[in-house]
């Protein structure tokens, strides 16, 4: 694989392009990188999923080597990569691309930091993947429960790879979240009040706040776990420590993480459904309010992952109620989407199909979520395949369908091409059918007593049919991806560029060129309503502009972010193997890059020039 890439890069003389992307700090290019690498990790984790499903296809299967330790590694890498290295980064990529364009900003507030954030994710992802080649993949589940994850029970370096790669990429995620918050608060075009912001931007804003809190908690948890593993502390085991502390820390992060994945997808769907229904979003204030409420409540429910831990009846009931409460704002959103469609003109383009597929699928996942919140019933559901079914219904229906919808929708803004509609529809239908075929039967497997994270089951437990169906479904989803690849290939081969506004869009991003140029919004648009572009088109006017000056960040190429994070990656690698001397040297290297950065601002030479550009 790597060899083919290297050869084709050399053959087509693409090295300059790679060099350009290694140094870029432009939001669209960084967004593209996020999506590209997120997607590569998505494939890796998807192949893991196919291994899992092959092993579980029939009872007592001894498929190749995927049993025991290998199976445990495979589901751990599958879960971890999907959450941290596939779903989250692809969403960050879409935010990077679309948010500045939606609010009329020229770039993110801190372009350099943005590059650092991406390369941290990249380094973390690479580190995590290297573990596989060194035969030390972690086998502790994506939740890394102590004390199994402490050095008492997982002696090898596998769990250290888990700790360090999540720590590094988590740091990058926090940086990007900070960046997005400042961008959205400070860089909006004149007249774009908070009450006129597109819903994807709103969702991004709230998500960024969730990331800030949740990933910080995760960082603390990982930090303590690192000390337990490497330096003999006893936070999570022994007479004074407690493994349940880890569960609290993990789920105070982990539950909001689910909404970090879902809220941006809600935003994307809102924009797409409104665009392809030719109607503004129904009940905009309620939509915003429910995003805020969901974000807030997401921090109040983490114990619903711990009903069986013995925290006592009072705790269990309180958290059962708060969990149920989240269903109300979620329900409001669903009905508002439905009523956005009511009375509209629905165009079934590929992005719209993915959004329409989302509604019933997601509601099915939400419904089982309410069932799980019934704490005494959860004693049965917990850690069974019913839960596996539930969270895939939620995550795939929201995040993954949302990402695909977003990729098809924004593809013109990223590359200038529109993806082929016919192949897109094949992709959608096979994916949706495969998805339901995989995960619906898992509810029943779970209720028939199949625990999660087991590599085998016996004949006569009532698990044969449902497991076989799940496996067939998983491969159907795999096949659907082939249509997506063929689509990419065909679209670029055909090479028909489109104009600014291929979808008859409503918001500012459709006023700039496709692919979005590095210098956008000159002159600066003036926003007087939601969906300003749409209403301007209705009135057959151009969008209003203004001479008012806005702070505009300037992106300047720099190789520093890449060097910084790669050095940090090598340092972590040395830490994992306890080679402290090289680790210290590399650490000093990372620090020296900070110093270089502090004394060197590559934007300086351009300040004057940019100023005149704006007038």
């Amino acid at each position: 694989m790597g060899g083919i890439v290297v050869i084709s890069v050399l053959k087509y003389k693409k090295l300059p392009v790679i060099w350009e992307f290694m140094r870029t700090t432009n939001h669209r290019k960084i967004g593209t990188l996020y999506i590209l690498f997120g997607f590569i990790f998505f494939l890796r984790a998807g192949i893991d999923a196919l291994f899992i499903r092959s092993q579980l296809a029939v009872p007592n299967n001894d498929f190749w080597v995927f049993q025991f330790e290998k199976y445990n590694e495979v589901f751990t890498t599958h879960g971890t990569m999907m959450i941290f290295f596939a779903a989250t980064p692809m969403l960050l990529g879409l935010m990077n691309i679309a948010v500045p364009l939606q609010i009329g900003a020229r770039d993110l507030a801190f372009p350099f930091l943005n590059a650092v954030g991406f390369w941290l994710f990249f380094t973390g992802g690479m580190l995590f993947n290297i573990a596989f080649f060194l035969n030390s993949a972690p086998a502790i589940g994506w939740t890394g429960y102590a004390p199994l994850s402490t050095s008492l029970f997982t002696l090898g370096v596998g769990s250290d790879f888990y700790v360090f790669s999540l720590q590094i990429s988590g740091l990058g995620t926090i940086f990007t979240a900070l960046n997005l918050i400042v961008t959205i608060v400070r860089m909006r075009a004149p007249g774009m009040k908070f009450t006129r912001m597109p819903l994807f931007t709103w969702a991004t804003l709230i998500t960024a706040f969730l990331i800030l809190v949740a990933f910080t908690v995760l960082a603390i948890g990982l930090y303590l776990l690192m000390f337990d593993r490497m330096f003999g502390t006893k936070f999570f085991h022994g007479p004074d420590g407690d493994p349940v502390y880890w569960q609290h820390l993990f789920w105070i992060f982990g539950h909001p993480e689910v909404y970090i994945l879902a809220l941006p997808a809600f935003g994307i769907f809102s924009d797409i459904i409104s665009t392809f229904s030719k109607k503004r979003v129904f009940g905009y204030p309620a939509m915003v309010l429910s995003i805020v409420l969901i974000g807030f409540l997401s921090f109040m429910v983490w114990v619903h992952h711990m009903f069986t831990v013995g925290l006592g009846p009072v705790t269990n009931t309180i958290f059962a109620i708060t969990t149920m409460a989240i269903a109300v704002p979620t329900g409001i959103k669903v009905f508002n989407w439905l009523f956005t469609m009511r009375g509209g003109v629905l165009r079934f383009t590929t992005p719209m199909l993915f959004s329409l597929g989302f509604i019933p699928s997601f509601v099915m996942g939400g419904v089982t979520g309410v069932m799980l919140s019934v704490s005494a019933a959860d004693f049965q559901f917990h850690d069974s395949h019913f839960v596996v079914a539930h969270f895939h219904y939620v995550i795939i229906a929201s995040t993954i369908l949302g990402i695909f919808a977003g990729i098809y929708y924004y593809y013109p803004k990223i590359t200038g091409f529109v993806l082929d509609e016919k192949l897109g529809k094949w992709h959608f239908w096979l994916f949706l059918i495969g998805f339901h075929l995989t995960f619906f039967p898992m509810h029943i497997s779970g209720l028939n007593g199949m625990p999660r994270r087991v590599y085998t089951f016996r004949v006569g437990e009532g698990l044969e049919i449902t497991n076989l169906l799940s496996t067939i479904g998983a491969f159907t989803m795999g096949i659907s991806m082939l249509f997506f690849f063929y689509n990419l290939f065909k679209t670029h081969k055909k090479g028909e560029k489109v104009g600014n506004d291929p979808w008859d869009g409503r918001t500012l991003e459709w006023t700039v060129g496709s692919p979005s140029p590095e210098h956008t919004f000159t002159p600066m648009p003036f926003v007087e309503e939601t969906d300003p572009f749409w209403y301007a088109k209705l009135r057959r006017e151009r969008i209003k502009t203004t001479k008012e000056h806005r702070a505009s960040p300037i992106s300047r190429d720099s190789i520093l972010p890449f060097l910084m994070t790669i050095t940090l990656g090598f340092m972590s690698f040395c830490m994992i193997y306890k080679w402290y001397v090289p680790a210290i040297i590399l650490g000093a290297g990372v620090f020296s890059f900070f110093v270089i950065r502090a004394f060197h601002d590559e934007r300086a030479e351009h300040y004057g020039k940019e100023q005149t550009d704006d007038e």
Binding site: A320, I359, P360, V363, V370, A376, F379, H382, H436, Y455
Partner: protein
């Protein structure tokens, strides 16, 4: 697409009689199954409403040639509608919350020792990758749990190493088995029969094989069983 999403429901309905967790063999499990059914019923209402509206809107408002120039009416929202779908779910959830609270209060695993002395007390110890059951006359067996019918069985669970989870799907839900902490879980009125027990919390390489056999027998048989040479080890 709609047909495809309905198909699995048919499978579910056809198979529900034989689904383990929904056909439990103890009163603890029956209360849990009741909650599952009850929540499913309430949620089915929600599902149905969404599916019907969704299908209707998708068909009715789809694009046709005739509508190519049509600009839909500009609707900002409707307070009455929005209040409706805020308040009704609220009521549905309140209805669901009542039995949830009651049964959760009864059934949640606790940490302090129970005072109830009538029932049968059994110490359960989990370790990688084996279960040990100690009966009241300190008879100790591995991976085989024998209990009498129609009694309150109080399990005292503890772990020697990592976190495990004690689960007999046919009888009742699971409880975590945690090092340095004893949890109490009560299963009431089990029916005579043979069931599978498993570890439900991932605990290491042999997690999938950390299973045990459960036999519920009559009280006489149980007493006889206790008298048989104690500390008999099964081969493991």
């Amino acid at each position: 697409m709609k047909k495809i999403t309905i198909l699995p429901f048919i499978i579910l309905l056809a198979g529900c009689q034989s689904i383990t967790v929904l056909d439990p063999k103890s009163s603890t499990g029956k209360e849990q199954a009741y909650l599952i059914w009850f929540s499913l019923a309430i949620m089915a209402i929600v599902l149905l409403v969404v599916f019907i509206l969704f299908t209707r809107f998708v068909i009715r408002y789809r694009y046709t040639e005739k509508k190519s120039e049509f600009i839909p009416q500009d609707i900002k929202g409707n307070l009455k509608y929005e209040l409706t779908w805020t308040i009704i779910p609220f009521i549905l959830l309140a209805v669901l919350a009542v039995p949830t609270l009651k049964i959760t209060f009864d059934q949640s695993p606790k940490t302090e020792a129970e005072t109830n002395t009538n029932g049968i007390h059994i110490n359960v110890t989990a370790e990688q990758f084996r279960w040990t059951f100690e009966h009241k006359n300190s008879k100790t067996v591995h991976n085989e749990l024998i209990i009498p019918e129609n009694k309150d069985i109080t399990f005292h669970l503890s772990s020697k190493d990592v976190i495990h989870s004690f689960w007999i799907p046919e009888l009742a839900g699971k409880v975590d088995v945690i090092p340095n902490k004893e949890l109490i879980y009560v299963i009431k009125n089990a029916e005579i029969g043979e069931y599978d027990g498993k570890c439900a919390e991932f605990c290491g390489i042999q997690h999938a094989n950390m299973t045990f056999d459960v036999k519920v027998v009559s009280m006489e048989k149980y007493n006889q069983y206790l008298k048989q040479s104690s500390n008999q080890e099964n081969e493991d």
